[in-house]
């Protein structure tokens, strides 16, 4: 039994599916139950149609399958008669999500671009003009780093370590680079140009950088900029983010894409920000109730994972009712589906309704602590109408509700919102 638990636990891994790795058969196309998302084709065709570099955003709830969609985009661009070299930049390795600025994005992009070009296209980038900038910052930081034979990856790893190691060094570095970003970008673009020249010779049609995980930055007021950290990075830093002379796609927090800055973002990034929505598992008010096609897709996800582990449904769930409850509680978030399953299976296998409810209560505790009166006003309206009204002072509340997934966004025939099922039986303190 214990080996079966291990296999099941492994099969319900909430990590994004990678198009280029085993386990890809677990992928279930969710486009028709997500609504007219068709996110990957939209992103891909803008890249394919434009000879000029494009810079696009991709939004979505955490756990909605954004990373999986980005990996699909990668595979889509790597095949076909117009083949692109795609750098998948997992920014969490270089970035402290509590505190992100352009320096960290640049570091992540350059480091991983160099590594992936070397590994998959046998192109080795020299440090070029970066060498000069590095020398300057190490001199000014009075660091005794020897730069004699530093290559591009090593140099940026050194910056990444310095930035992550000490907040003081981070601030100092940023200060040094502020006002000099033009030169850093110039150095980056010079290398990108050289890489493109070599990629063209290998028959590639261009270079695309996908920056994942930037949506996970912690949204809070920015100390200096007088706006949220998200607005700072994606709006104030847009001129830098979109200055790489290759195609780029960044993931952006959904809460930002649906804030009052929505119009600004679509102006800055050339069109509406595509959103990876939740799978619709229930109907919006006033109709309510299960939405069967969505439930079926989620069941399909579960079935694929079970197949993968070699187990039967009866090994995992004590009944179909328990299984369906899991789907409803997930609110159509694939990652949440995995988390809840794992949480519940820790107690005992097969999962019982009670175990599942206990798991849901654990998830709920986090919300109870966070929700304030201003949040409840919005939640009540979402429960009633599937929508919320923006007022002059609830932008922050809506942003944090979307950010922590207390309310979920669905895009089907039209946009609507639902509360997270795990808080369904909660209400505002004193309201009852």
């Amino acid at each position: 039994m214990s080996s079966s638990l291990e296999k099941l636990y492994a099969a319900f891994d909430p990590q994004p599916l990678r198009a280029d790795q085993p386990g890809e058969h677990r992928y279930v196309d969710l486009d028709d139950v997500r609504g007219p998302g068709d996110v990957v084709p939209r992103l891909a065709s803008r890249i394919r149609l434009s000879p000029e570099p494009t810079c696009q955003l991709l939004a979505g709830h955490r756990g909605s399958g954004k990373s999986t969609e980005l990996r699909r985009l990668k595979r889509e661009l790597e095949t076909g008669n117009k083949r692109y070299f795609v750098v998948f930049c997992d920014s969490s390795r270089d970035i402290d999500r509590n505190d992100v600025d352009f320096l960290e994005v640049l570091t992540a992009v350059m480091r991983q671009m160099a590594a992936q070009l070397r590994e998959h296209a046998q192109i080795s980038l020299t440090p070029g003009y970066f060498r000069d900038r590095w020398e300057r910052i190490w001199n000014l930081l009075s660091s005794d780093v020897s730069l004699d034979s530093v290559d591009l990856e090593v140099g940026f790893t050194k910056i990444s370590t310095t930035v992550k190691a000490s907040p003081d060094a981070r601030l100092k570095l940023r200060e040094l680079i502020e006002g000099d970003t033009g030169n850093w970008l110039l150095a980056a673009n010079d290398l990108i140009g050289q890489a493109l020249l070599d990629l063209n010779k290998q028959g590639y049609h261009g270079l695309v950088v996908l920056v994942d995980d930037l949506d996970k930055i912690v949204l809070r007021p920015h100390e200096k900029a007088g706006c949220s950290t998200g607005e700072y990075l994606f709006i104030h830093r847009q001129p830098q983010l979109s200055a790489f002379m290759c195609h780029t796609v960044y993931t952006v927090p959904l809460a930002l894409a649906y804030s009052t800055q929505e119009a600004t973002l679509s102006t800055l990034y050339g069109g509406n920000v595509p959103v990876v929505p939740m799978v619709k598992v229930s109907n919006p008010p006033p109709q309510r109730g299960d939405y069967q096609p969505g439930i079926d897709k989620c069941l399909q996800i579960i079935a694929r994972r079970l197949e993968d582990s070699g187990a039967q449904q009866t090994d995992l769930f004590d009944s179909d009712q328990t299984r369906d409850l899991l789907v409803r509680l997930s609110g159509g978030q694939p990652t949440e589906l995995m988390y809840l399953t794992r949480e519940a299976m820790i107690t005992a296998l097969p999962i019982t309704e009670n175990a599942l409810k206990r798991a849901a209560r654990e998830r709920r505790k986090a919300y109870v602590r966070q929700l304030r009166t201003e949040h409840w006003t919005v939640i009540d309206e979402v429960r009633r109408a599937g929508q919320f009204t923006r007022t002059a002072d609830n932008d922050q509340a809506i942003r944090s509700l979307l950010d922590n997934r207390a309310i979920l966004q669905y895009v089907n025939d039209s946009d609507w919102y639902g509360e997270n099922p795990v808080i369904a039986d909660l209400s505002a303190p004193g309201a009852r």
């Binding site: 570099p53 003009y129 000069d132 006002g179 140009g193 493109l196 020249l197 063209n200 002379m245």
Partner: protein, 563 residues
């Protein structure tokens, strides 16, 4: 002159803005002429003649040595409408020739000389000799703001060797592009071509730069890329201005201006106007330049382009400085500085501080200039702008020269020369050599001066800088004057004049004419001298330069002598 006129009265004016330099020069004279006496005018004096006579009669009257009168400016606070001391001086002019059978030299800073001319015109006319010790500061590279696409701090910082490698790398990339052009390379190709052109100019290969920019232009036209076309044309304009051919530069900038206007691109219009103004200034057409800068300022304010606003103010300052209005130049530089600091633009901050330094040198306050130059140096070192660092070392040298410390100045020029050679900055190398020449001339070593000037001349000819060639020939002329070879001097002045006329540099033309006129005047050929000096007078009057009437008075005096 002093030895010639020993024993008979003559009245001379020596214009020198720096008290230190004045003391140095007076000290040198005193070492050569033991009978020379120096008379400081006590502050607040009204009757200058009485004060000087009083000092010379005690303890013992009667020495017939030359007299240097200093510190008269202490009694002439600037900004006052009336100057009783000057009125008294004007009335006392007969007394001077009666009392002194020796040369009398008034040492004054430039502004005081202007006051003297305005308030004591009769006295002024008696001056038979006029010496200018106003150090001509090399126009620092950062004074005027042009945006050469491709002029990156990074490319400029490479060592001379690294620049050659970078050029080879860019040439290689571009040749690969030409064999198999891909649409996704277009933007990169434009960047590379413009950077390559910048590097060619930097190392002194203007023909290659022009060829490269023409390629960028053709590529932009083929792609229907109007902004890229504008960039290439604008860079061609800047390149030709650097080559000392401002007329060609104007042609290119006007094309860019017309394109920007047709496209309704206000930002591009502003940039083009700024560059056009700089090209007009290089022609010596300062009024036209100012018109362009003012239009640029209006547009920048209209579209909220703070950088453009700062650059327009900075250039207005430079133009007014060249019009002989240092106070206004300082005001503009201060406005420019405020904007540069506000938008956190370190390069512009350095440029505006450099312009402030220039203004204070003109005002005769080299100590303050040094303070500003040192700030510029710190910024240049902080942002790693080696070209600006070396140019600023050159400016510090000029400021120390104005302080009367030519040896200290030489130390700075040598540092300037060293860095310029390290980074392969041929123009900077030439400037440093020219300044070294002038410093040795000031040390009374005309032969050494000529050696440096000849090296300067060789470089400007190599890099095809016609304007620089004119300046260098003029300097050689002046050095031969000091060597006592007026014929050779005139030969060089003639060559300088021909070049300034050919490229349309009216300021240079006026200077060359004046200097040549002085030689003809010494040789007694007054008619020729008048004809030449009149060119300078006309130019200065047209500009409304404060020197205009002073020069005109000199020419008038010559006319009177001719009759």
């Amino acid at each position: 002159m002093l030895t010639l006129s020993r024993g008979s009265f003559s009245l001379s004016l020596a214009v020198c803005n720096s008290a230190q330099l004045r003391d140095y020069l007076v000290g040198r004279l005193a070492a050569e002429i033991p009978s020379l006496r120096v008379v400081p005018v006590p502050p607040g004096t009204t009757d200058v003649f009485a004060a000087v006579r009083e000092r010379l009669d005690h303890p013992a009257p009667g020495s017939a040595g030359p007299v240097c009168i200093v510190d008269l400016n202490e009694s002439l606070p600037s900004g006052l409408p009336a100057h009783p001391a000057l009125r008294a001086l004007n009335a006392s002019r007969e007394l001077w020739s009666e009392r002194f059978a020796a040369p009398v030299i008034f040492w004054l800073p430039e502004y005081a000389a202007t006051l003297l001319y305005q308030h004591a015109p009769d006295f002024w006319r008696w001056f038979s000799h006029q010496f200018e010790f106003v150090t001509e500061r090399a126009e620092p590279a950062l004074a005027a703001h042009e945006i050469f696409a491709g002029d990156t701090l990074l490319a400029g910082r490479l060592s001379a060797d690294q620049k050659r490698f970078r050029i080879a790398e860019l040439e290689e990339r571009i040749s690969q592009l030409n064999t198999d052009p891909q649409p996704n390379m277009y933007g990169h190709a434009q960047l590379w071509l413009n950077e390559l052109a910048f590097l060619y100019l930097f190392i002194g290969d203007p023909q290659a730069a022009e060829r490269t920019l023409q390629a960028a232009l053709a590529m932009a036209r083929a792609a229907g890329d109007r902004p890229g076309e504008g960039t290439a044309l604008g860079n061609l304009g800047i390149a030709y201005k650097d080559l000392g051919e401002p007329r060609k530069a104007i042609g290119y900038h006007e094309q860019v201006l017309a394109m920007a206007r047709a496209a309704g691109d206000r930002l591009g219009e502003g940039t083009a106007l700024g560059n056009l103004g700089i090209a007009y200034a290089a022609l010596g057409e300062l009024r036209k330049a100012i018109e362009c800068y003012e239009q640029r300022l209006t547009i920048a304010r209209e579209v909220g382009d703070r950088h453009g606003e700062g650059s327009a103010l900075g250039n207005l300052g430079v133009a007014h400085r060249n019009l002989g209005e240092p106070r206004r130049a300082i005001e503009y530089a201060e406005q420019h500085l405020a904007i540069a600091r506000e938008i956190g633009d370190h390069r512009s901050e350095g440029a505006s501080l450099g312009n402030l330094a220039n203004g204070y040198v003109d005002l005769g306050e080299p100590e303050r200039a040094i303070e500003f130059d040192e700030q510029v140096l710190a910024i240049a070192r902080e942002i790693g702008d080696r070209r600006n660092e070396s140019a600023t070392l050159g400016n510090l040298g000029l400021a120390y020269a104005a302080l009367g410390q030519p040896r200290r100045a030489i130390e700075f020029y040598e540092q300037h020369l060293k860095i310029a050679r390290e980074i392969g900055d041929r123009r900077g190398e030439g400037n440093a050599l020219g300044n070294l020449g002038s410093a040795h001339a000031a040390l009374g070593q005309p032969k050494r001066a000529i050696e440096f000037y000849e090296q300067h001349l060789k470089i400007v000819r190599e890099i095809g800088d016609r304007r620089g060639e004119g300046i260098s020939l003029g300097n050689l002329g002046s050095a031969y004057v000091t060597l006592g070879q007026p014929r050779k001097a005139i030969e060089y002045y003639e060559q300088a004049l021909a070049i300034t006329r050919e490229i349309g540099n009216r300021r240079g033309e006026a200077n060359a004419c004046w200097n040549m006129g002085v030689e003809y005047e010494k040789a007694g050929d007054l008619a020729h001298a008048i004809e030449l000096m009149q060119v300078c007078v006309d130019y200065e009057r047209e500009l409304g330069h404060p020197d205009a009437e002073k020069s005109a008075a000199h020419v008038a005096a010559l006319r009177a002598r001719l009759k």
